[in-house]
């Protein structure tokens, strides 16, 4: 049995009287591909926002590799090993593709170079800069964006912007990668391509992946287990095929 990477216990948040998410329990094993699905407004992105520190949960805790990260600041959580992408793409638009990835590499211990070393152009500056560029190229090659590395990221087509977001999140060397609708706005070819990339990333970087997606083909083709949310509560949980065929889930999605 492989080790647990992420453990969520009774996680919940309420905004005033609205309970956006309540009593969420889940456990993600190492190198698992875990899906979080549900109709619009079910609270999926809210769960992501809690896991990455945007919101502070009102109840419950979550643990990454046994360490309690509940209520920590966003950058601390990222440095501990949870990286994310956004539903509405948030790239650094006025920077080139490779620089977007290099920002992701910023906190890695192997690219340490202080502010003073940068200002006075000490040898360590040149060394880290070169190494960062090399590493960023490597990551871009994996998602297939190496050719575009010197383009401004806002000039990329939608599908490639999504891939760049994944590359940037990956650059932070995460234990857990949270992908918020990675296939949204992609055509079927790109979606199939993305499925391969995600699988490849998991094997290559030993990263555990938690993803939100509406494309059920994508989810059932990729995820081992899913949690189905509706109105902030868990409808079904377990092996993908069983959970998606649960009568409650079908009712929530297509009515009944």
């Amino acid at each position: 049995m492989s080790t647990t990477v992420l453990k969520i216990e009774n996680l919940g948040i309420s905004f005033g009287g609205l309970k956006a998410v309540q009593d969420l329990n889940l456990e993600i094993k190492e190198k698992q591909l875990y899906g979080l699905v549900g109709p619009n407004g079910a609270g999926k992105t809210t769960v992501f926002n809690m896991l990455t520190g945007v919101y502070k949960p009102t109840t419950g805790n979550f643990y990454l590799d046994g360490e309690n990260l509940t209520g920590k600041a966003q950058d601390v959580i990222n440095q501990k090993g949870i990286a994310r992408t956004f539903q509405n793409i948030r790239l650094f638009n006025n920077m080139t593709v490779i620089r977007n990835v290099m920002v992701g590499l910023h906190n890695r211990p192997e690219f340490k170079c202080g502010v003073f070393a940068s200002i006075f152009r000490l040898p360590s500056y040149y060394k880290t800069e070169k190494a960062m560029r090399q590493k960023a190229k490597e990551i871009l090659r994996i998602v297939g964006l190496e050719e575009e590395r010197n383009n401004l990221s806002c000039n990329l087509p939608y599908g490639k912007q999504r891939k760049l977001e994944i590359a940037r999140a990956l650059a932070t060397n995460p234990r857990l990668l949270c992908l918020d609708e990675p296939a949204a706005g992609m055509n079927p070819n790109e979606t199939a391509d993305l499925m391969d990339i995600i699988k490849f990333i998991r094997d290559e970087f030993n990263v555990t992946i938690l993803l939100i997606e509406h494309d059920m083909k994508f989810v059932s083709g990729l995820c081992d287990e899913v949690t189905v949310l509706n109105f902030g509560t868990v409808l079904a949980q377990g092996k993908t095929r069983d959970a998606l065929n649960d009568p409650e889930v079908i009712k929530a999605y297509i009515g009944g």
């Binding site: 990455t52 966003q74 440095q79 948030r90 650094f92 920002v103 910023h106 940068s118 200002i119």
Partner: protein, 379 residues
């Protein structure tokens, strides 16, 4: 090592070179007595404006926060640097050393104030931060205005020691070079990328693990350090420091330089600072007597024209087709081989494309149409 020098991007050094050449040329001219004292004063003012504009440009153009308190930091530097030189003069003499030490003292205290103010203020964003910094500048100004005559001169202003004008102006230019070096090196490093990422998307920046507060504080502190240095230079160049000079009008004047030069462009800020200061001083000397009322009018008119020239879409298009590069290209194109190539290309452009052809493209992979090829857009 040799490899490192071969890879130097000269584009990155053009501003140092231009400033250094200006410093040497004007330095030699002033030492041989070829420059009038008013020209030396103008050059000092330009150097001060460049330091202010470049340091503010890092906050506004790269960090993306609006600060309207830059004159406040300058004020702190001017008063405390001036005071330091008065206090140090009996101990260290009225030479070069006192000047440098008091400049560093002024800069350091301004930086400290920047850090202290920044710590709570930088939790605010956008307009709110702008208003807090605006208020800070006004507070600083009125504190110095209401000091006792013995301490900081009060409303009469603080008299500073008089240094040799020629030396002062060379020192001002050396500090321009230092400002450029420090700020450009900061921007062109991993820390600079982190700072720019905060401007582009703060939420994503946090999610990528950037400590946003830390970087805002670093930028704010460094920027106020150089504003302080500029303040000390100002106090020596003017012989007196008057708190009325540092009103929010002056902060906005610095902001105008940054905006006019283009957000996120250090070279632009240098050019804009030079132009605006030159214009300001020249208008004051040309329009005297009864015409003095027109100074502000002309200043405002020129500003409006410059901003429109920079940003109006029609003029942007005009500049793209009528700049030096295009002109040079046109000269190059006159060789017959190039022209033939051009004509040939135009012949091949199909005049009519039927829908069938468009649809058939996907089915016939041997055609040259490649939808995934990245478009190289000329920038």
């Amino acid at each position: 090592m040799a490899n490192m020098f071969a890879k130097i991007k000269w584009k990155h050094f053009i501003n140092y070179i231009v400033v250094a050449i200006a410093m040497i040329v004007f330095g030699v001219m002033s030492l041989t007595g070829a420059l009038s004292s008013s020209t030396v004063y103008l050059l000092e003012k330009i150097a001060i404006a460049i330091i202010l504009a470049v340091s503010l440009s890092v906050v506004v153009g790269f960090l993306g926060e609006l600060s309207l308190g830059h004159a406040g930091f300058m004020c702190i530097g001017a008063y405390l640097g001036g005071k330091a030189s008065l206090l140090l003069e009996p101990v260290m003499g009225d030479g070069f050393l006192t000047l440098i030490v008091s400049m560093i003292v002024g800069g350091a205290i301004a930086a400290l104030c920047g850090a202290v103010i920044g710590l709570p203020a930088l939790r605010l964003k956008g307009d709110y931060l702008a208003i807090v910094t605006l208020a800070f500048g006004e507070i600083v100004r009125s504190i110095f205005m209401n000091t006792k005559k013995e301490s900081f001169g009060g409303s009469l202003g603080l008299e500073t020691p008089r240094y040799d004008k020629d030396i002062l102006f060379i020192i001002a230019f050396v500090f321009v070079l230092i400002t450029l070096a420090v700020l450009q090196n900061l921007i062109r490093s991993k820390h600079g990328r982190a700072i720019t990422s905060i401007r582009d998307n703060e939420i994503a920046s946090k999610a990528t693990g950037i400590n946003v507060t830390k970087y805002k504080l670093i930028v704010f502190t460094i920027s106020s350090f150089f504003a302080g240095i500029a303040g000390v230079l100002y106090s020596f160049s003017n012989y007196t420091v008057q708190s009325s000079k540092f009103s929010y009008n002056y902060s906005i004047e610095i902001l105008v330089m940054v905006v006019l030069g283009g957000m996120g462009s250090i070279n632009g800020s240098i050019i804009a600072a030079t132009l605006i200061t030159f214009l300001d001083v020249k208008l004051q000397t040309i329009l005297t007597g009864d015409l003095a009322v027109l100074q502000d009018l002309f200043y405002a008119l020129v500003l409006i024209i410059l901003v429109i020239y920079n940003n109006a879409p029609a003029l942007k298009g005009f500049r793209e087709t009528h700049n030096l590069k295009v002109l040079l290209d046109r000269f190059r194109k006159h060789s017959p081989a190039d022209r033939k190539d051009d004509e040939a290309k135009w012949d091949r452009v199909p005049t009519k494309i039927s829908m069938d052809e468009v649809l058939s493209v996907d089915l016939q992979p041997q055609t040259t149409y490649t939808p995934d090829k990245p478009k190289k857009e000329g920038k």
